[in-house]
Amino acid sequence: MITQIVFWFFAVVLIGSAVMVVSARNPVHSVLFLILAFFNAAGLFLIAGAEFLAMILVIAYVGAVAVLFLFVVMMLDVNFSQLREGLQRYFPVGAAVGLVLFVELALSASAWRIAPNVRDLPHARVPGASSNTEALGELIYTHYVFLFQACGLVLLVAMIGAIVLTLRDRPSAKRQDVAVQHARVPADTLQMMTLGLGESTTGNGGFRRPIGKSAEKPVSRPALVIENSPDREG
């Protein structure tokens, strides 16, 4: 009894929030409704006894994918009223595509057969596994090893694709290179001078960086002129 009430609750909220995802005017609200939909789907998984999938749905989709969506819609600054102006023009094409999709869905739905033993499936256990997490663990990495490796490759492609598409090198950026910083020694940057009494640094070419290390020209004007300082004159 309670199971059914909970099921209908999750199912109705899931469908309702899915409708809101498409119809909400503010895209941020859309994403938040999408998150609500994910949560209800996780609840349905729980009712079916799939604890692990329910948690992974929340971790992967709500905790990671929807964060990216939210980043995109919050910060992308898309002008949505401008997008809506195009609606009139593209409506016929969109409607045609939607109709084809709908017919296809209807066809596949009408050919749908429910497996006769579907009621027993939630109770079908992998022998020896005490929870469905263990059951999954026993199958994914051995029985479905090629699919599992294919997942790894897909993730690799996603990683490289993201970098190729988004990474722009900005030459103006200041980066910290820890190794270079640690390798710096006083001899590279510091020059000790012994000045005689009353002798100014101008005689030595003024204060400047040691010439040997860097290719830059010596500064012609002394960076700091001691003779002209007011307390000397007074």
Partner: protein, 340 residues
């Protein structure tokens, strides 16, 4: 527990509600006093007195602060999105509290003893980003926006190493149930054999809760207060309490994963006399003290250093350590279930 108690649905609901309150009320008081304890400890570190006026030793300070915050005006900026603006602090605080549903304070003493407890905690800690992102966006203010972005990217970066640390603990346990994780530490706490992972987890917990030295989302000197600049009254208070509730949660997770939960340090007479929950609380308080101690000691990180630590140090290191742990357990035949 519920099987030999009230058998009716209503009885079950009432019992669960009571259990939940028995967990949440001490937690709320604890959170309130953590703010007081933090000020006292920081004061001691800096040779000051700290709050000492309201009540004996300033003990009523936490309540005075609460009353002040409740009676202040809630300001909702004109450009803000009202519903989301108010939702964000509720979300932050609510998430920090709801995680406690699965935390066991003694053998099988959890409000919900679920099979995938550790995943539940991982899921909740990955949801923490939302309160901050929504607050940053809904305020419609530049500082809030920048703070929210930075904070979200920071939490997300350290999430991965937290996950990897959890996996290396699970390798030695062979179950996702928090109760089993604690019981697996009967002989030795995981903090000893996995000491490097313990350190990684603790530092990631600091970053995940936006605590010093990783508190730059709220960096006063550049972002005024980060994502909650525009918040006032208790809507600010909920963010503030949420941070402390998250500290409690992270300490609880550290205790369960590495410090043997409710188990005494050694299973011999004088230690076993003290009941489990006392040990559990004592360990949490110790970890919390270290949180505050770190805040009193270390200067703030720079943002690029923070990201480098997360992605270039912790991620590869914890991945490598996880593989080494797995390999070691395989080679020595210490893996759980390996007999069957």
């Amino acid at each position: 527990m519920q099987h030999f108690f009230l058998d009716t649905t209503l009885g079950l609901i009432i019992l669960t509600v009571l259990e939940a309150l028995a967990m949440l009320v001490p937690l709320l008081v604890g959170v309130a006093y953590l703010t007081y304890a933090e000020r006292k400890v920081l004061a001691a570190i800096q040779l000051r007195k700290g709050p000492n006026t309201v009540g004996p030793f300033g003990l009523l300070q936490a309540f005075a602060d609460a009353i002040k915050m409740i009676t202040k005006e809630t300001i909702i900026p004109s450009g803000a999105n009202r519903a989301l603006f108010l939702l964000a602090p509720v979300l932050t605080f609510g998430l920090a509290m709801m995680a406690w549903a699965v935390i066991p304070t003694n053998n099988h003493w959890a409000v919900a003893d679920i099979n995938v407890g550790i995943l539940y905690l991982f899921a909740i800690s990955s949801l923490g980003v939302y309160g901050i992102l929504i607050a940053g966006w809904a305020s419609n203010s530049k500082y809030a926006f920048m703070g929210g972005l930075r904070s979200a990217a920071q939490m997300v970066s350290y999430e991965v190493s937290i996950g990897l640390v959890m996996v290396s603990v699970l390798l030695a346990v062979g179950s996702l149930n928090l109760n089993d994780i604690v019981l697996a530490q009967r002989h030795v706490w995981f903090a000893l054999p996995m000491f490097p992972m313990f350190v990684v987890f603790f530092i990631s917990a600091l970053a995940e809760t936006n605590r010093a030295p990783f508190d730059l989302p709220e960096g006063e000197s550049e972002l005024v207060a980060g994502f909650f600049v525009e918040y006032s009254s208790l809507s600010f208070g909920l963010f503030f309490l949420g941070e402390y509730a998250n500290m409690f949660l992270m300490s609880g997770m550290t205790t369960i994963l590495f410090l043997g939960g409710w188990l005494p340090p050694v299973g011999i007479a004088p230690f076993t006399w003290i009941p489990g929950p006392i040990w559990f609380i004592a360990k949490i308080l110790f970890v919390l003290f270290v949180f505050i101690w770190v805040r009193g000691t270390f200067p703030r990180y720079r943002y690029d250093q923070l990201m480098r630590l997360g992605w270039k140090v912790f991620l590869p290191f914890s991945l490598l350590w996880m593989v080494l742990t797995a390999g070691f357990l395989m080679a020595t035949g210490l893996l759980p279930h390996s007999g069957s």
